[in-house]
Amino acid sequence: MNFSKKAQVEVTFNWIYIAIAGAVILLFFAGIIVKQKIASEQTLDRDVMRIMENIFTAAQISENTKTVIDMGGLRDYVFYFNCEEGVSKYGLEGRSMPVEDQANPIFAPNKIQSSLLITWSVPYKLPFKVIDFLFITSSNTKYFLWGKTPLSQDFSRAISNVSSESKIKVDFNTAEIQDLSEINPGKNFQMRLIDFEGKLKTGDKLPTAVEEKIAYLPPGRVTAVSFHGAGASTSITYFVYENGWKEQNKKPLNVISLGGESDAALYAAIFSGDDSIYQCNMRKAFQRLSYLNEIYGGPELATKGIPGGKLGEIISFYKARPELLMTSECVNYLTEDPNQNVQAALQSHQNSANACLTLFTAGEIPTECTELVSTAVNLREANNNLAERGDCIPLY
């Protein structure tokens, strides 16, 4: 009888033991599976971001090139873009660590969720090429072009041009409108109104019929950019629609550009999600400009007036070759011409770039930066004299 009870205990114990051991083993493998799943998701996120980084790098360096990227399985993910304190960040929302970029200006909406991504690279010149601006948008971001100005015509022409590299016509999903009542966002992910004539004001409301059409869009997906002035005095204001247009930037942002066709700084304003993306990325361009100025004029031109860099080399070249026919004329255009010589123009340009960067703060582009436009025009003129009138070695 005693033995029988013992056997019963043993059998029960065995089953409990097996159950516990089985559970432990099961938990162990379940843990491994969970960890593996998390790890593979992280790897996938990293791979995606690495591929995006490669695509963006390639897109940016190919000057004046538009590219369409098929997002395939990533069409359900939301990509976000922002730029703070001179660092651009982009990544998959709620997922992996974002990619950070301190050097390359990337102008994009705050969020993108689409099956097709569009990239466009445009060189920024002040007056020499400073950097390529990369614009990123999507096939389901609708742009309404409101108003007719030289800028609107130039922009329409530029977006419809066939990319020289890819030979593909890229559809930027734009619509020209004469009146705000023509706005129809369709089933797009977001919409941006481009007010070329600077008519928008805080508190303005869209027509009721349009408000009904945009009602499905979550907050922050109906935005606008408004251009004021023209040429060197152009400024921009960003708006977001929250039961009426609401200004995003406290003060209008100055656009630093030389104007003309394919104006990268103005196009950048159109593609930037908000004022902080625009302003932060422009700072990157000015930073690069100051380093390029050093390549052209040396580090002591701005502070001590001593030419170095490429300019110094050109001056030394002509001084060492007095037998050349054009030497005296070239030296004149380089250093002596009282109207416009390259050395003085480059020195002013360096000083303006340094002042612009020193006074740059979050939230505004200082007025000192606007001086870059006039100094760049002077430098361009001096360089043209050198190259065209004097047939000398140009600075750039």
Partner: protein, 200 residues
């Protein structure tokens, strides 16, 4: 008594059997873990190599289109795959002045060099022919012989961060080299390559 001792022996056998099973089980688990970690290490190295290669290609692309090096002429588009040697000579000093705050973010741990391979001699040779009392004399000023190399950027990965020696993989790209400071009236073009190495 006999029966009791028999049962005790059976119990001991059971315990030994359980221990043996557990031992084998844990041995298998340990083997599995060792295999898994070895595989992970190998996969990690493979991934690092792939990353290094991708970074090298990315860096080469960036270098090829650097405005700091591009051959420009006014507002015209820059010449493709061309390096302005006058700018190239200034670049190393400029990069070193702004290495940490800017160029490191662009290139990371890498070495970028530009090598001129042609012309080796005539590049800086001036030949003067003078006729002194009927004798012809040749005056050759050879400023540079052989390959010329400019190290534009060099930032090796600090060794003390890792016990393992870092890997180094490089890519090459052929370029033309424009030097306007030679010759004077004609623009001189040379031929060379960019070597971009990344420290993995």
């Amino acid at each position: 008594m006999n029966m009791k001792s028999h049962l005790k022996k059976k119990g001991q056998l059971h315990i030994s059997e359980t221990i043996a099973v557990l031992f084998i089980f844990f041995v298998l688990v340990v083997f599995g873990l060792i295999f898994y970690f070895k595989y992970t290490q190998y996969a990690l190295k493979e991934e690092q190599n792939q990353l290094s290669t991708a970074r090298a290609i990315r860096t080469t692309s960036k270098v090829l289109f650097l405005p700091e090096l591009a051959c420009t002429r006014g507002s015209a588009e820059p010449e493709d795959d061309c390096i302005d040697v006058m700018k190239l000579r200034q670049l190393n000093a400029t990069i070193n002045r702004h290495l940490q705050e800017y160029y490191y973010n662009m290139f990371g741990y890498a070495k970028i060099s530009v090598v001129k391979v042609y012309p080796k001699e005539p590049w800086a040779v001036q030949t003067e022919i003078s006729n002194n009392s009927g004798n012809i004399s040749f005056n050759l000023n050879v400023a540079a012989l052989g390959e010329e190399r400019w190290v534009v950027y060099d930032l090796p990965r600090p060794i003390n961060l890792t016990k393992e020696a870092y890997s180094y993989s490089s890519t090459y790209f052929i370029v033309t080299l424009r030097d306007e400071a030679i010759g004077g009236e004609k623009i001189h073009y040379g031929f060379g390559y960019i070597e971009v190495g990344v420290y993995g």
